[in-house]
Amino acid sequence: MYVAVKGGERAIDAAHAWLAEERRGDRGIAALSVAQIRTQLTLAVNRVMAEGSLYDPDLAALAIKQARGDLIEAVFLIRAYRTTLPRFGASIPVDTARMAVIRRVSATFKDLPGGQILGPTFDYTHRLLDFALMAEGDAPLPQKEAPTTGDAPSAHIPHVMEFLNRDDLIETEAPIDATPPDLTREPMELPAARALRLQALARGDEGFVLSMAYSTQRGYGRTHAFVGELRIGMVAVQMHIPELGFAIDIGEVELTECETVNQFKGSKTVPPQFTRGYGLIFGQSERKAISMSLCDRALRWRELGEDNIGAPAQDEEFVLMHADNVQATGFLEHIKLPHYVDFQSELELIRRLRSEAIAAREAAE
């Protein structure tokens, strides 16, 4: 247990002043603006919004600047800010079938209605450092040209899963309208409903969720996942306003959605069907969305009547209780705070144990 200490005020002030100076860096180089971070380090901003569980690109960019690029520290700042705000209510669940897609790929169907849209992807790049980015000056604007291939994506691009649904080849996700549990309001209770698991995974640390998902692929709770569909785009956020008596758009958020098709489940009465895993993340983050859907599927072993083979990714308590990087950092880093009293008692204990052992050895000699 750590203890309260006093003193050191002047040293702490000096440390924080130095921190501000280090944050600014070399004054011979132009300062980075929040707008530059927001518009040019977009994927870092997206990650801070996803794990901070608050969609606000300006605030996420500010947090990144303040945290000197330490993304977990930035997530912490966002979480802390969020607790100061009143909550007006919940949105109507977003309709991802009406997403304005900029990317949409399927690994299971090559010819799908609406087509495969690559979007602004790192896929198929050569992962060679581009030294042109290091040179001064802006990249030339792309030539404006009409799209070469046919029609623009329509407003309604059906989910790939709908095609499998039609033939009963995959389990259906029936629209239920229950109020979902909220782990920011009530402490997480286990076993957790799927809605609570999805919330915890969506705000979980990307690295942790990725590693858990990877472990299932390597055999620790294998679920044979295919990416049925991955899509990125803007989605309207709608909310019912009691004073108005109807629902309105309050804005738009960018989302990444992943649906996996996984191996079968059937019973004496129901013929085998594909099963599903689901990922939905703020911003553009397909690594996280795919990871989330693999973890979601692995954690569904109980409701699908599968065996628990003891794989870490199937262990709800292990996954959900260790996914949050703010909680983890808080507990991990608190051990650097003053533990003088605890340590003093440990010191006394080890001195006593040693003196007893030395006395016993001397007596034996």
């Binding site: 009143p86 623009a152 919330q199 705000r203 939905l280």
Partner: protein, 148 residues
Amino acid sequence: MTNSPEATDRAAWIGQLARAKPDRLRALFPTLPPYEVLRPAEIGTVMVQGRAGGTGAPFNLGEVTVTRCALRLTTGEVGHGHVQGRDKDHATRAAILDALLQTDQSSALRAAVLAPLAADETAHRAGRAAKAAATKVEFFTLVRGEDK
């Protein structure tokens, strides 16, 4: 849930004003008429929900910052503003326009404010959609050695 045509029309303009870029809205509608504040502009959050599998049971995805306010014009019409982000000026301007669009100034404001906003939005979306369409691919499966 189906709304009356009036409610559908009002929901459409409220949405258009909420999605507008605050600077653009200010430029299109710079001068505010006198009004009485019913609920001062306040910043808060709305919990965005998704659905498991895209269509199933709802879950809490994360929050979004929202600014809201309510006000009344001197002529009596009440306007509501609910806009994503933390811009109180945006929420206020949206609420005033919501109120004014219920008055006889409606058609003038539709032409002066809503139409340009809709045109901006259409152009922006068409630009993104055209870029997306340019990255549309056809994948061909190659015959593998074992498939004789």
